[in-house]
Amino acid sequence: MSAEIIRVDGLTKHYRGSGDGAPALDGVSFSIEADKIYGLLGRNGAGKTTIMSILTAQGFATAGSVRVFGQNPYENERVLNRICFIRESQKYPDDFNANHAFKAAALFFDNWDQSLAMRLAKDFQLPLKRRIKKLSRGQLSAVGVVIGLASRAELTFFDEPYLGLDAVARQLFYDRLVEDYTEYPRTIVLSSHLIDEVANLLEHVIVIDQGRIIMDDDAESLRGSAVAVAGQAARVEVFTAGRTVIHREGFGALASVTIDGVLSAGERAEAAELGLELAPVSLQQLVVRRTIKGAVDDGSADGAARQGTKQGDTARMEATR
């Protein structure tokens, strides 16, 4: 059991000017343990960057509490100097090139590894002497990725770090991340909506949708937590009756139904007898299905309690409406 380094309770954020629209974060609670790679997954605008901003005291919460390394991070250098968070839209001083940015990072991050930074810059073919404001989107992302990795901060956040990077550069990032993490274990929070690409890196997954947490579990247990049953529609219906259906697809007489839960050996044998095919559900499919299901339930039942969320929290949802 590793030590808890982040504790978030009832975190709520309303952005000014959003009127009486939905809050960016709506009573979010979770915790993060040391020396693991976390995935903070969700659609664009789900609240991922907002959470990371508040955790690093770059942004402010409307309500709720945040503890990082046991303390409030706001204006707290003893917490802040153990954290690195380069935003997806990170700004740099007007006249800085990548070399300048790395020199600055070397000043502030105690564990900064300059040779690693240089190696990564070479991997990403980053022009070190070109002004940052003249770099392409991918090169700009690369500057952030290099700072994030070479800082070796105890708690490192990557905010959609791959924007504009091509497939090769993205793979390089994932490889280097794993390599360096293996050698220097630390806590990494990776926000992403390219779930399939990062699924293998993640040890723990937190999924956020419309400002609420809809999944928070070990990547390992999530991988086996749902199963797709395919075959003759009528038989599929019989087999899946009474189970929590996450998704349903039909192709004429055939159907594929994704259900929650782990099947026992007996149930697997029964499925085989019925001529049904059982397929594991990828993390991405699982997240997509759960997210869509949440949205549909939310829209259909006029404020009826939403189902299928791991947290449940029906009462709180009712209270906030």
Binding site: S53, T56, A57, Q58, G59, F60, E75, N76, E77, R78, L80, N81, I83, C84, F85, I86, R87, Q90, K91, Y92, P93, D94, D95, F96, H100, A101, K103, A104, A105, L107, F108, F109, I147, A153
Partner: protein, 234 residues
């Protein structure tokens, strides 16, 4: 605690100096360039006796106003990415600027002395030793330049902070408020027929008094800028 914090403030100052051009190179070029240009203009004007005034000495000060704005709009968000607290960013940035302002003020005083000694660079030019200020002692001149530069920098810094925190609306409200305040003051003085005493009072302040007041005003603005920055987001 203070050691750790101040140490990071010093690092902020060092960060601002990573690109030497911003705080050192460009001011040096502006200063040299405007100085040489003014000399050229003095040489061209064919009146040897009357003093020729040049406002070129201000050029660097306006650059510092722009620098105050830029430090905040771009360097502040970057410093947040470097996990620097707002307090360290403020102390490091304003501290570094104060040091630069001290150096430039010293330079202005020296240049003013050279100007007097060479009778306006041999051409009766007036750029640094403006009559009103040059009659005061060296100390007052020095303080006056320092106060002026700090005022401009903090002004730019605070306006940028307001913009960062409250956007265009905040900026508009701020300008309106400043306008209303100024018009209100003028109206008050006019209705009360206070112009004569106000004039006398201003004249009585002299360079030292004006310097003192602008330092006080700068300190107030600096405090305001810090409090605004405390809740600003990158």
């Amino acid at each position: 605690m203070s050691w750790a914090v101040d140490n990071r403030a010093v690092k902020v100052a060092r960060m601002q100096l990573i690109n030497k051009w911003t705080f050192l190179g460009i001011p040096a070029i502006i200063l040299t360039g405007s100085f040489l240009l003014s000399l050229a203009v003095f040489a061209v004007i064919p009146v040897p006796d009357a003093p020729k005034y040049s406002g070129a000495g201000q050029a660097v000060m306006w650059y510092f106003f722009a620098l105050g704005i830029q430090s905040l709009t771009l360097t502040f968000p970057f410093s947040q990415g470097m996990s620097v607290s707002r307090r360290s960013f403020f102390l490091g940035t304003v501290g570094l600027f104060a040091v630069v302002a001290l150096v430039v003020s010293g330079l202005y005083v020296l240049l003013g002395m050279a100007e007097v000694a060479t009778k306006g660079w041999g051409m009766n030019g007036r750029m640094f030793a403006l009559q009103w200020i040059a009659d005061s002692g060296v100390g007052v001149q020095f303080l006056f330049y320092f106060a002026l530069m700090m005022l401009l920098f903090i002004l730019g810094f605070w306006f940028a902070t307001v913009y960062k925190r409250w956007g265009a609306t905040g900026m508009l409200v701020l300008w309106l408020a400043v306008g209303v305040l100024l018009v209100g003051l003028v109206a008050l003085v006019t209705w009360q027929d206070w112009w004569a005493p106000v004039g006398t009072w201003l004249a009585a302040q002299g360079p030292l008094g004006i310097t003192g007041w602008s330092l006080l005003f700068t300190a107030l603005l600096g405090g305001g800028a810090y409090l605004t920055l405390r809740r600003a987001t990158p």
